[in-house]
Amino acid sequence: MHVIPESWAHLHILVSLFPLIGLLFVLGFYATALVTNNDGLKRVCLLVIAGLGVLSIPIYISGMASIMPVSERQGVSEGLINSHYNWSLYALIASILTAVAAGYEWMRSGNLGRFSANALHLVLGASLITLLLMILSGESGWLINHQELGVATKGAINLPSGSDIPEGQGTPQAWSHWHIILNHFPSIGLVVALGFFIVALVRDNTVMKRSALVLFTICGILGVPTYVTGASSMWALTDPPLPYISQAAINAHRDMALWTLFALAATGVAAWIELWRFRYLGRFSQRAMYVVLAFGVITLGLIAETGHRGGQINHPEIRTEPLPTDPAAYLSPGIETAINNVQWFVPWQTIHFFGYCLIFGTVAAVVLRVFGFWKSMPFSAIHRILPLGVMGVVMNVFSGMLMLLADTFRYVNSNAFPPKMAFIVIGGCAVLYFSLSERLWNTKAGEEAPMAAKWVAGITLLAWAGVIMGGRLIPYV
C-alpha cells in the first residue's frame, strides 16, 4: 500500500476528496440519527463533520504547494488552476464554518446532555451548502490534470493511422469522467463505513451498526459501475492512444481493481446478510460482525493500492518510481484472452442467465406481494426469499465482469450498455429498501403495503427488466 504521501501533490490527491465524498456519506448517517433520534450517532456525526472541516487545513496547504509542480505540466492552464483555487476557497470557508457549528453543538450537547434542534438543523443546512460548493471545487480540480476530458471529440475525429475504430466512434471520454468521480465513492465510503462500524462495535450502538452495514452494502453496489467505467476509460485513453498514457500502468491498475471489485462484493454481501439476519434474530452475531470488519479492512487495503496505481496513470507529478512498461506482465490481458475463448465464455454466460432468473424471480415475488397479491402472507414471509435475489446479483457481478473483459470495447460502445449499468445501481439500491423498510417489514397478513413501497416496487421491476433488456440489446444497438 502507498498511503503515506511522498509529496504535497500526493497529499492533496489523497485527502482533497475526503471532505466532499466523506461529508456525503456522513450526512447519510446524520439523517439516520435525526430520523431515529439516536443521540450516540448524532454526537459521532457532529464530531466527524467537525473533523472533516479540520481537513481543510492540510488540503489548503497541500493545494498551494501543488500549484508549482502541476503548472509545470504541459497543457495545464492557469485559468483552470485559478478557477479551482476560487471554488476551493469558498468550499473550504464553508467547510470550516460548518465544522465550527458541528464542533460547538458537539461540545454543548456533551455539557448539557441534550441537543438543540435548531443547531442540528443548522449543521445539516450548512453541510448541504458546503457539499454543493465542494462539488464545484472538485469538478474544477480534476479538469486541471485530466486533459483527456477535453479531447473527446478531437480524439474521435483525428484518428491516428492504423486505428481500427471507424471515424467518429472512439470510446467517449464521458466514461473517464464518470470513473474519476465514481471511484472515490467506494474508497472513501469504505473508510467512513469502517470508522462508524468500529465506533458502533465499541459503543454497542445498534442503529450505528445497521447504518454502517448499509454503507458497506452501498459500497459493494457502487463497485460495479466503478469497475465498468474504469474498463471503459481504458479504451477511451488507449484507442486511439494518448501520448502520456501507459497501457502497462493501466494493466497494473485494473489487475488490482478486479480483486477490489470481488472484495467489495464479498464485504457488501457479508454486511447485507447480517442486516437480513437481524430482522429475524433481533440481534447481531458478534462473530459475523468481526467477519464483516475483517472483510472491510482487507478490501480497504486492496482499494488503497488500486487507487494508488490508478493515480499513477495520469498524475506524473506524484510519481516517485518509473512506471511499468510491459503490458503483458499482468493478469487482466490473460483473463481477457481466456474468457474470450468459447470454452470459458459459454459456462460463465450460463451462470449469468441463472443469476438473472434468481434476481428477476425474487423481484417478481416481492413486487407482486407489495402490489397486493398474496395478501394472506405477511411481508416477513416474502422477505425470507431476498437472499436468493442477492445470490443472483453476486453470480452476475462475477460472471458479468468476466464477460465484460471478453470484449470490453464492443460492450462499452453499445448504446444499451450505459442504461443497463444505471439500472443495476437503481435495482441494487431498491433491494436495500426492501431489506430495511420498517413499515414494509411490519406489513401483516391481510394488510396493504405502504404506498411508498408500491412506488419503489414499480421502479425495481422496471429497473431489473431494463437490466435484462439492456443485456440482450447490447450486441445489436
Binding site: W276, R279, Y280, Q343, P347, T350, I351, F354, P387, L388
Partner: protein
C-alpha cells in the same frame, strides 16, 4: 461431437452445478437459522 464441444458441455455443467449447489447450501444455512420449521 468433437472434443471441444464435450469440454464446453462438461465445463458448463460443472460450473453450473458448483454455483447452484453453493446457492442451495447458502439458502439452507441461512433459513435453518431464522426459520425453525426448516431444521
Amino acid at each position: 461431437m468433437d472434443a471441444t464441444s464435450l469440454i464446453i458441455i462438461a465445463t458448463t455443467i460443472a460450473l453450473s452445478g458448483l454455483v447452484l449447489g453453493g446457492c442451495y447450501w447458502c439458502m439452507y444455512s441461512l433459513n435453518k437459522e431464522v426459520d425453525p420449521t426448516n431444521r
